[in-house]
């Protein structure tokens, strides 16, 4: 493509085809292919595009950086996705601790003056504000039904990283061979957001970032709330690597857990409206009769955000229990 605006001449099918060929997936960590969301969403009654400008987890700042550094590119990306979906309304949800990013984006929207209706909504900074169902509810007041998808309530959702990658693919023709990754944690010498090629070994990332200042207790792929531990630094960066976090021993809890003391903290924080303590206690003494009970407690509505385990004073690994139970064939 010759000029930035030339994408406007493409049809929606062309756009979806470019996105598919570029191998673009959701870059917020879940990695759903973007063209699937777009082609399913087209003509299915979707009226609003939600742009997730909240980071999915603490420590991660790549989306914030993208909004601050490439606000015009982000706006173009949003317009491309709107065109692919055949709609003209987009809401960008940004947490209120990212005021600089919101300002840059507002300026970019004003300057671009797009014919579409793109607006920014400031959201309270809290975890998990960036979780799909929660941000859609925060922005539109619509609740994705239990076991349902955003399309059920006429919404499509993309995060900032994906939007930026879509713009690069459609305007510059660049396939998704690299992504922005937050390299952070107290033990890395030069933390920051890096553009890293897919397939780069974690050990090379460590080297490029100035090395480690000590032996990390855990190396996390993703965020510290729901990311997984890396067992070998020869593992590669993938399309779903939102961050690489090096945690020291004093940042993690390693110790025993206790019986539930029924404090209710997990019920209070659960964004899915579940009773994690009941689920955890039930799974602990799992027997064939309890599957039904788990179902009725809504185990399938758990988004595995980890908030319950995070607040639990008895340090109970409830979110892990739920994850394990969900993998059982009986559920």
């Amino acid at each position: 493509m010759k000029r930035e605006e030339d994408w406007d001449k493409l049809t929606c099918d062309d756009i979806i085809k470019i996105i598919r060929n570029a191998g673009i997936v959701g870059l917020g960590g879940v990695s759903i292919p973007a063209h699937v969301k777009l082609s399913r969403g087209k003509g299915s009654g979707i009226d609003t595009l939600i742009i997730n400008g909240c980071e999915s987890e603490p420590y991660l700042t790549a989306d914030d950086m993208l909004m601050k550094t490439y606000p015009f590119e982000v706006v173009t990306g949003i317009r491309i996705i709107l065109k692919a979906l055949g709609i003209s309304r987009a809401l960008i949800g940004i947490e209120d601790n990212k005021m600089a990013a919101a300002k840059k984006l507002t300026d970019a929207i004003t300057e671009t003056a797009p014919p579409e209706h793109i607006s920014i909504v400031m959201l309270k900074t809290k975890y998990p504000q960036g979780a799909e169902k929660n941000i859609i509810y925060s922005l539109t007041g619509r609740k994705v039904p239990s076991k349902g998808a955003p399309a059920d309530i006429h919404a499509a959702i993309f995060n900032i990283g994906t939007v930026h990658a879509v713009r690069e693919a459609v305007v510059t023709g660049k396939p998704l061979f690299e992504r922005y990754v937050t390299v952070s944690g107290s033990l890395i010498r030069n933390p920051g957001n890096y553009k890293i090629r897919i397939g780069t070994r974690i050990s090379s990332v460590i080297e490029e970032c100035g090395g480690l200042t000590g032996k990390p207790a855990r190396i996390i792929s993703g965020g510290p709330m729901s990311g997984y531990e890396i067992h070998d630094t020869d593992m590669p960066v993938t399309k779903e690597t939102t961050g690489i976090i090096f945690l020291s021993r004093d940042q993690v809890y390693e110790g025993p857990f206790h019986p539930c003391i029924r404090c209710g903290s997990c019920v209070n924080v659960c964004p899915a409206g579940l009773m994690p303590c009941e689920l955890g206690n039930g799974i602990e003494k799992m027997n064939s009769g309890s599957f039904d009970y788990m179902e009725r407690l809504g185990i399938h509505d758990c988004i595995l955000c980890g908030a319950c385990s995070y607040v639990c004073p008895a340090k109970r690994p409830m979110s892990q229990y739920i994850k394990l139970a969900l993998e059982l064939p009986a559920l």
């Binding site: 709330m225 003391i261 659960c270 385990s309 004073p313 979110s319």
Partner: protein, 320 residues
């Protein structure tokens, strides 16, 4: 969860990898700290005998817990503070002038009620302090009667009369000062509503207290008292209701016994229902049955209903 990682790093940990830092000792020692204002004020008000009773009770509870751990070969958990809290609550709820063996035995009962019968912290269905109190009331009723205290019985009667006389003048600054700072009963926990409330505010600010329970409890007590006074034709029912809420041990029980972490519902709606139930039963027992220990029994009764409440008052699942 707890395996030590070797060089091969084959033992992986599970998310979340970070923790809020909340812990059982933090909760228990915060509760102990929240009881400090009322402990200090009651020691000043009732004299050193109150402090002595509190110290005996707390050390007895710790000792009983230690014995239990050693006898049954369980990990020693006295550092988590739960025994200290149980001991403090026992001492604060029995008359300050009672002989010192009473708080000592009371704490022992409380530890038995939580550890021996229900196998440990978190598993007890009934509030151990109230269990112990009910046992004491059955075995040695004479010491728990409000008459048994360092003041004379006449003094108490005169005092109660004074509160209600003030109430009959309407809600005046004098009434409020008297309700907040004056002792309303023989137990150190009843020394001052203000001190008890200060502890509660501290706990709520640390996010530890299940505040919905005392709110619903005292709200129900106030409303039922108001309606009762109106129905009985007592003038200035509002002032009477206020006096009912702040005098007597009900406030202390609502904040530190009914809102106990372990023996109460975990859901927001459940906590409100639990508090209302406590309030309603307290009213029924106090005004219509006239037993002593009305508040203790109403809380224990609701403790028994907690599994039911948790089952039927679940939060709404997102999107369901």
């Amino acid at each position: 969860m707890t395996e030590q990682k070797g060089t091969s790093n084959l033992f992986l940990t599970v998310p979340p990898h970070i923790h809020s830092g909340g812990s059982i000792p933090r909760i228990m020692w915060s509760i102990a700290a929240a009881l400090l204002p009322v402990i200090i004020y009651s020691s000043y008000l009732y004299g050193l005998i109150a402090l002595g009773s509190i110290l005996v009770s707390a050390s007895s509870a710790v000792l009983a817990e230690l014995m239990y751990s050693l006898l049954f070969k369980k990990p020693v958990t006295i550092k988590d503070g739960s025994a200290v809290v149980a001991g403090l609550l026992v001492a604060l709820s029995i008359p300050a002038g009672a002989p010192l063996w009473l708080p000592a035995l009371g704490s022992l009962f409380a530890v038995i009620a939580s550890r021996l019968i229900f196998t440990g912290l978190g598993r007890n269905v009934f509030n151990p302090v109230l269990c112990s109190r009910v046992v004491m009331a059955a075995l040695w009723p004479v010491y728990l009667k409000s008459g048994w205290n360092i003041f004379s019985e006449n003094h108490m009667a005169a005092f109660q009369g004074e509160v209600y006389d003030k109430a009959l003048n309407g809600i005046t600054p004098a009434l409020i000062k008297s309700l907040l700072l004056d002792s309303t009963g023989p137990a150190p926990g009843e020394a001052s509503a203000l001190m008890v409330l200060m502890g509660a505010v501290f706990l709520i600010s640390r996010g530890i207290m299940k505040w919905r329970i005392p709110l619903a409890f005292m709200g129900t007590v106030a409303i039922t008292a108001f309606v009762f006074c109106k129905a009985a034709g007592i003038p200035l029912a509002g002032a009477c209701a206020l006096a009912t809420v702040f005098s007597g041990g009900t406030l202390f029980y609502a904040l530190f016994m009914a809102a106990d972490i372990i023996t109460t519902p975990v859901t927001a709606a459940g906590m409100l229902a639990f508090g209302m139930g406590c309030g309603l039963f307290s009213f029924l027992i106090r005004f219509l049955a006239g037993w002593p220990e009305g508040v203790s029994y109403s809380i224990l009764l609701m403790n028994g209903a907690v599994p039911l409440i948790d089952r039927y008052m679940r939060p709404r699942v997102f999107g369901a």
